[in-house]
């Protein structure tokens, strides 16, 4: 099972791929910013595609687990919250 730090790094890399914001800025400046709020301002379509990227990672580690698009699209879900959500799937 991956450690929390490993999960965090992987999730941040995925968020970086979908937002263009570098990982260190996601960690240092936007870690408590909601995915749908400024400045990240991700829309539901982007979050839907990102769900599939996260699901692929989760199923690679735990095939019986999954992540649902409504969990990722939930208003108020922060970058930090997303890391915790993915980690909870892998425990």
């Amino acid at each position: 099972m991956p450690t929390k730090n490993e999960v965090q790094l992987h999730v941040l890399n995925i968020v970086h791929a979908f937002t263009g914001i570098i990982v260190t800025d996601l960690l240092n400046k936007f870690f408590t910013t909601a995915l749908k709020d400024p400045p990240l301002s991700m829309d539901d379509t982007g979050l839907g595609f990102m769900t599939l990227s996260l699901r692929g990672y989760i199923k690679n580690e735990r095939p019986e687990k999954t992540i649902i698009v409504t969990e990722v699209r939930k208003p108020g879900l922060t970058v930090s919250g997303l890391v915790d959500l993915v980690f909870s799937k892998l425990k």
Partner: protein
């Protein structure tokens, strides 16, 4: 008439400012906790879900009248399907819409309520790739609409295909400034629409549709968005038109939305629309609207 403009704008600005940030957040949270979303419409494309619901005071130049307008769509819950699929996201939700204006005796008057359902399908060929993020996005919608002005009930079905990609220049890609603040996004669509009278199915119309939507936030900080410009254009080409008998149609609308507290939940704005209004059985309009915007 000038006094009406002045009084209307003052009321709108004061009423939105009267809601404190905490109050706005509390209201927004209630809707989120109960899985309810409010937008201008849920016709089945991302562009419509990006627009706030509107409560307007209007000036219609085409039909020479002034009136109030309500354009609100309500989405209750979003139901995901195939939650273990590696390549597909599929969701559905029920929705209700109310589109009304107070223009009595004018061709621009409207008052319709509709209920229906939307479906969304996203396809991601290679979700393991973080360098080739792209794929088609399909949305489809069914509505049963009761038009109280024209006294007709219609079944409406539509489907739109768009595309999403995270490379520069692709639809859905977020363009940001040097400090990573989101600024601009666009989506093109192609699709199909079908309208038929509920009691007389032979009276129906089908159109192929080309649409374009873009939004731009010129004034934003790291935490707040104060100003939004929206633009959308739709072109409808006739496949079959026994119901409306309008021929090819297009409609363009542009909007300026101001969010004084920096959150796009409550604000006020100005919208301009010219062309054949799909929310009003394609009545030709040339409208200028000022009013309150709500997006929850």
């Amino acid at each position: 008439m000038k006094n009406k403009y002045f009084i209307g704008c003052c009321f709108i600005m004061c009423s939105t400012q009267a809601l404190s940030q905490a109050k706005q957040n509390k209201i927004a949270k209630w809707f989120t906790d109960h899985n309810i979303s409010i937008r201008k419409s849920f016709t089945g494309s991302s562009k419509d879900e990006g627009k706030p619901a509107v409560f307007f005071w209007n000036k219609d130049f085409q039909n020479k009248t002034s009136y109030t307008t309500i354009d609100v769509g309500l989405k209750v819950a979003q139901i995901p399907f195939f939650n273990n699929s590696k390549h597909f996201i599929v969701t559905g939700f029920p929705k209700f819409e109310w589109h009304k204006d107070g223009a009595k005796g004018s061709t621009g008057a409207k008052n319709s309520i509709s209920a229906g359902a939307n479906m969304e399908v996203l396809y991601f060929k290679d979700p393991a790739s973080l360098t080739n993020i792209q794929g088609p996005a399909l949305t489809a919608s069914y509505n049963y609409k009761n038009d109280y002005i024209k006294k007709v009930n219609t079944n409406e079905v539509n489907a739109y295909l768009s595309y999403f990609g995270e490379k520069a220049g692709m639809p859905g890609h977020s363009i940001r400034n040097k400090t990573d603040v989101y600024r601009f996004r666009y989506y093109p669509y192609i699709g199909f629409e079908s309208y038929s009278k509920a009691t007389e199915g032979s009276q129906n119309s089908q159109f192929w549709v080309a649409r374009f939507f873009a939004e731009y936030f010129p004034i934003s900080t790291k935490e707040k968005q104060f100003l939004q410009f929206t633009f959308d254009y739709s072109y409808r080409g006739v496949i079959h038109d026994k119901l409306y008998k309008m021929g090819t149609m297009n409609v363009v609308s542009a909007g300026i939305n101001i969010y004084p507290n920096g959150t796009p939940n409550f604000g006020f704005g100005i919208d301009y629309q010219k062309g054949y209004d799909p929310a009003n059985s394609f009545v030709k309009t040339d409208k200028f609207d000022v009013g309150i915007k709500v997006k929850l």
